[in-house]
Symmetry: C2
Subunit: 336 residues, 2 copies
């Protein structure tokens, strides 16, 4: 293992002081072009690599923005992540990503770990957390933002949409089409919290419309997948009898369920309608296309990025928590 090359070494090689090296590499204007060239050459020759850790330590600014996501393998979260990365890279901020796997205890451990890196902002997916997580984040002195949800009691800032209201769009639409007996298919509400909100929203909307109680199905721990949807339908037996609409917590589940229904010779949507959520690519493949809800995953990322950048940059660290709502949009497919 070779000795680590530092600014001191570069300085010695270039015949200047470390301070000058620092300025030269930082493109500070108070350095002669010639000096800069000498320094750059020395740095290249020695294979110098800038040390962000030391910089972060000295400046007490890590350059990190911590983000927790339930899953990495989800087109919508990926979309948010991508938009966020793009927006924050302008502000020289780097995402420090943690995956919770839909587990609040894992989230808590992750939050501890991420906080220790002194992030300049903390972004959580969802509005439900352990008490400890909440306490940790309430005490922290950087902006905290919850996204993808509208928590009853936000920790601080929020960029999200109401999962319950979004699902009501689906229910209203189904009711308008004359469907009355709904089943809801999703993951265990204890693990998929946004899914649970959707479930609640659907049930509430059905009740509001005076429809019979929605029948609840649960395929196990989040995330619910295509395979879950398909297997559920295949093994449902008489559970689906009497239902004229199967409301699914997400497009993949809906796609799997619909594939299994079609395979079993059921007519979609005539015998039974199927709806999804999230406007994933899968909703637009195959026949019929899925009726679903576009939630604006990318706008969420952009809005979060702008909000965070604003909160950090201008020292406009508004003590008033910002709460930005998005309005999910119904996408009509042929499945309903």
């Amino acid at each position: 293992m070779t000795e680590r090359v530092t600014m001191r070494d570069v300085a010695a090689a270039a015949g200047v002081s470390p301070m000058t090296v620092s300025r030269a590499l930082k493109q500070d204007s108070s350095v002669t072009a010639e000096t800069r060239k000498t320094v750059q050459a020395a740095a290249d020759r020695l294979g110098y690599v800038y040390d962000s850790t030391a910089q972060a330590f000295r400046a007490q600014r890590s350059g990190f923005v911590a983000v927790t996501l339930p899953s990495i393998n989800n087109a919508n979260f990926a979309s948010t992540h991508k938009a966020l990365t793009a927006r924050l890279s302008h502000a020289k901020l780097q995402l420090l990503l943690g995956i919770t796997n839909y587990d609040l205890d894992a989230e808590e451990r992750l939050v501890r770990q991420l906080l220790a890196r002194r992030p300049e902002a903390f972004i959580l997916t969802g509005g439900t957390h352990t008490d400890v997580t909440r306490k940790l984040l309430q005490a922290v002195d950087c902006p905290v933002l919850e996204m993808w949800d509208i928590p009853a009691q936000p920790i601080q800032h929020v960029v999200g949409f109401s999962n319950a209201e979004a699902m009501a769009l689906i229910v209203d639409h189904l009711a308008q089409r004359g469907h009355r007996r709904f089943g809801f298919l999703g993951a265990n509400p204890g693990t998929d919290l946004r899914g649970a909100e959707r479930r609640r929203g659907a049930a509430q909307a059905a009740r509001r419309l005076g429809l019979p109680d929605m029948v609840q199905f649960d395929v196990g721990p989040a995330p619910a997948t295509m395979t879950h949807g398909a297997n559920f339908v295949r093994n449902a037996g008489p559970a689906l009898e009497g239902l004229d609409a199967l409301i699914c917590v997400s497009d993949p589940v809906a796609f799997g369920a619909m594939a299994a229904l079609v395979e079993a010779g059921r007519q979609v949507p005539d015998e039974i309608a199927v709806t999804g959520f999230g406007n994933f690519e899968i909703a637009r493949i195959g026949h019929p296309k899925l009726t679903t809800v576009e939630v604006g995953a990318q706008p969420i990322g952009l809005m979060v990025g702008d909000l965070i950048a604003g909160l950090l940059d201008a020292e406009t660290r508004s003590l008033v928590p910002q709460c930005q709502h998005l309005d999910p949009r119904l996408i009509l497919g042929g499945s309903s």
Copy 2:
């Protein structure tokens, strides 16, 4: 913004020295249980948060392992990432993730950025990089590992499989089933480098078997999606005439293509076989199931994790670069 609480503050509050605080919080055995309790209480009371940046600076060990992935929204990469995270968290290592979006220049920028964080190991997806990237990583004094590929000239360590050979499995299988005129559908080879390898492997295998030249199709920049597959088929016109097998670069593309073929009334596999790659969930949904290749995304993650942990932990920093190959496995579906 409140003042940052440091070990000094905790020490003062607990009536001990900072060193004792350090030891107490680190669960060092050389501290009385009573002292530890006092310290812990003081830390909790003040809302102390440990500073990994300072620790990393002092110890010259960041605790980071840098990883670049082409995309976050891919079940196989996600699987590798998850396995890797699990393995490395045992070793108290945290992943620092960078997404290249299948762009080698983006990868280069990312590598610079990640190197500045002084990672203890560097993991790249794929074996093709810009010259600068290679040079940067050759000069670095931490283990470097390329995965998901078998580069002709590895930078250092490798855990991967031959994309070309994996695709040959498909071609051999198709030939055995009597298919002769192949089309290959994938993203632009200049952007999807592992896809390009698969393309090359398929063409080579066809040639080896004395079959007619494979017809090449290209749906644009990576990643190729379901929609690309479907749209390609819909707009292919006579391009597909005469082909009896459509080899796709990945399952999503294959699924989209197959859906469009079925929609157009073509019999799969009797008129035209369709094959995928990667054994994604989508391969097992719908009819027929896709013939595909299981590459072992999770084992890759586990092997990479173990290798890295071994290289770092035991100071067995083997100067002999490790190269671990996986053997992809053909998965027969009804689509071929």
